[in-house]
């Protein structure tokens, strides 16, 4: 197992945002986390990546305990992430964004830079090569000199992925990568996610678009009100009565309309 999460909990004041959640992320697979709004998906991401400290439980990555490590150490250990509201260095060009990802892992100091040591020049060259390769991989090479704030939404989403990949992660966690892009773009993004896995990077994603999840995920974790209500293959999850209930409310059926109906509707569930 690349990552093992055991009994993870987070309490904000009296609110149990995430409660006793356990699951694994298998190497080379795509693991999806779904659930109604307010189910605790993003909180779970923030706990795994060190943006929040868990109240209880543990996170193990590559057999090392990384529970409660600060975000930058988690990233250095090989866990990269994107954010729900696409975060980019928006006043910088797309290429500079990806370069920032390379810079983060760089070992050269200001002294190297001031004296232009061989290490510095070697790293600069390597960073530039890696950036161009990643821009090509994510299909946005032609936008490389555009300012991040000015490019289309889809390009921003892809740039965020390229930036995350620049840190050379073994696990990439995508927080709603397909939010706010069209169906066509979503399908293309699904392609990209497959290519990322083919590259040897394991993917975990939080997503609302069931069309994307069902076609991509090897296993699915379903959260509701901070708790795990199901964990298994897409088929298992799709037919799980608790999942159907959580999404559509008691009394509804029609697993056929699930695909699109699931998205935003959370009747009777509150948050």
């Amino acid at each position: 197992m690349l990552m093992q999460v055991r009994g993870l909990s987070k309490t904000f004041g009296g609110l149990h945002a995430v409660e006793d959640v356990s699951f694994d992320i298998a190497e080379g697979e795509i693991t999806a986390i779904i659930g109604p709004n307010g189910a605790g998906k993003s909180t779970l991401f923030n706990l795994i990546t060190g943006f929040y400290r868990p109240t209880a439980g543990s996170v193990t990555f590559k057999a090392k305990d990384i529970t409660g490590h600060p975000a930058h150490r988690t990233a250095q250990a090989g866990v990269a992430r994107t954010f729900q509201t696409t975060k980019l260095f928006e006043h910088s060009s797309i290429a500079e964004n990806v370069l920032a990802g390379c810079a983060a892992g760089s070992r050269s100091t200001l002294i190297d830079a001031v004296f232009r040591t061989p290490r510095h020049r070697r790293e600069e060259k390597a960073s530039m090569d890696k950036t161009l390769e990643l821009l090509e991989f994510t299909g946005i090479l032609e936008f490389k000199d555009e300012i991040a704030a000015n490019v289309p939404h889809e390009v921003q989403k892809r740039a965020a992925v390229a930036l995350a990949l620049a840190t050379e992660p073994e696990l990439l966690l995508l927080d709603e990568p397909a939010a706010g892009i069209t169906e066509d773009e979503t399908a293309r993004f699904g392609q990209l996610i497959r290519q990322i896995v083919a590259r040897g990077v394991t993917v975990g994603l939080v997503e609302h678009k069931m069309s994307l999840i069902m076609s991509l995920a090897d296993s699915i974790l379903v959260l509701d009100q901070g708790r795990r209500i199901a964990w298994g293959t897409p088929e298992e999850v799709r037919s799980d009565p608790r999942v159907i209930e959580a999404y559509l409310g008691a009394g509804s059926q029609g697993s056929t309309s699930q695909e699109d109906g699931i998205q935003e509707r959370t009747p009777g569930q509150g948050a």
């Binding site: 930058h72 250095q76 954010f83 190297d112 790293e123 032609e142 490389k144």
Partner: protein, 346 residues
């Protein structure tokens, strides 16, 4: 990239040349040379402020205070304790760096407005100590006879032009450090923090450590500027550590352009030139300068150099795009631009 760089390079060379030949041009006007000397010591401190505000995005209002520590370390050590200029200069840099480091440990626990308020309080405390601790700092009586650098071989630093060239060396070093920051991974890490601390830490940047280093280095430069200022002036008083000075340094940087290489020196000299031009109006000069600064903030929030950089970049793109899309709309923001790409790769 090449083209942009060369335009910027020419601009930088022009400024450098102007600074190099200034003593010859101003040969008969010692007053203006003195203004220029003062301006350069300020500019060195502004380069320091640029590291923490420009690159890391933290508004420090303690820099007048750090400048003051540099001023008084130089001032007191070379008079009351009879140190040499060079020893005192080193002591000033070390002391401000250490104070900056310690202050950073506390100040950087806060963010944004709180950081600004915290550092302003810090600056005020430094000013209080300097202006009240009469036994050591002589408070409002000030310090007379701050040493100039000891002669090195034929170099006689009591000659304003010679001292001026010594300052230029320090100024060039500050500008070069800023340039390397702009083009290196160290600077990219800092700029990443300025844009989004969350995003920065998500890609593995240790936000706390990098901010700490930036703040420490930033204070060191302010101290260096202060020490050189004290030596250049010869007479110092508590006003050289006041909050007014902090805001002047801030104004120099904003006018010149944050996170740019030439911004600090251009902004400092330009605003000082305006101060001089309006000197007859004395207290009223801010009535005239105020609108100028407001206009700058509205129309060129990147500062003059930041704006120029934007314009050259846009001009370069238009040129690169022109031959390719003769019929298409001249929209430089439109996605594909392979020509540009080729020009940029290497």
């Amino acid at each position: 990239m090449k083209l942009t760089f060369s335009i910027r390079g020419v601009g930088a060379l022009l400024v450098a040349a102007a600074l190099l030949f200034a003593p010859l041009i101003l040969a008969e006007q010692n007053y203006l040379l003195r203004v220029l000397i003062t301006g350069i010591t300020y500019a060195i401190a502004v380069y320091g402020l640029n590291i923490i505000l420009g690159f890391t995005g933290q508004l420090s209002l303690a820099h007048g205070g750090f400048f003051g520590i540099g001023v008084y370390t130089m001032g007191l050590l070379t008079t009351d304790y009879d140190w040499s200029f060079w020893g005192a200069l080193l002591a000033a840099i070390v002391l401000t760096t250490v104070v900056g480091f310690l202050a950073g440990l506390l100040a950087l626990r806060t963010r944004e407005a709180y950081f600004a308020v915290f550092t302003m309080a810090l600056g005020l405390i430094i000013y209080m100590i300097i202006s009240r601790w009469e036994d050591v700092t002589h408070a409002y009586s000030g310090v007379l006879g701050v040493k100039l650098p000891e002669n090195i071989g034929p170099l006689d630093f009591s000659e304003p032009a010679t001292y001026y060239y010594l300052l230029l060396v320090f100024l060039a070093a500050a500008a070069y450090v800023t340039y390397t920051l702009r083009v290196s991974n160290v600077g990219r890490r800092l700029l990443a923090i300025r844009t989004s601390e969350d995003l920065a830490s998500s890609i593995g940047i240790n936000v706390g450590l990098n901010k700490q280093l930036a703040f420490t280095a930033s204070a060191g430069f302010a101290g260096l500027g202060g020490a050189l200022f004290a030596s250049a002036e010869g007479f110092i008083g508590p006003n050289s550590s006041s909050i007014d000075l902090t805001f002047e340094l801030l104004m120099f940087l904003l006018v010149g352009g944050v996170a740019t290489v030439m911004g600090p020196i251009v902004g400092t000299l330009l605003v000082l030139a305006l101060f001089e031009a309006f000197q007859d109006f004395q207290a009223y000069r801010f009535i005239l300068l105020g609108p100028v600064i407001i206009a700058l903030v509205i129309y060129a929030p990147q500062g003059l150099i930041g704006r120029l950089n934007e314009l050259t970049l846009r001009w370069k793109r238009r040129r690169a795009a022109a031959p390719k899309t003769p019929a298409g709309p001249p929209d430089s923001d439109s996605p594909a631009d392979p020509n540009d790409e080729k020009a940029e790769v290497r």
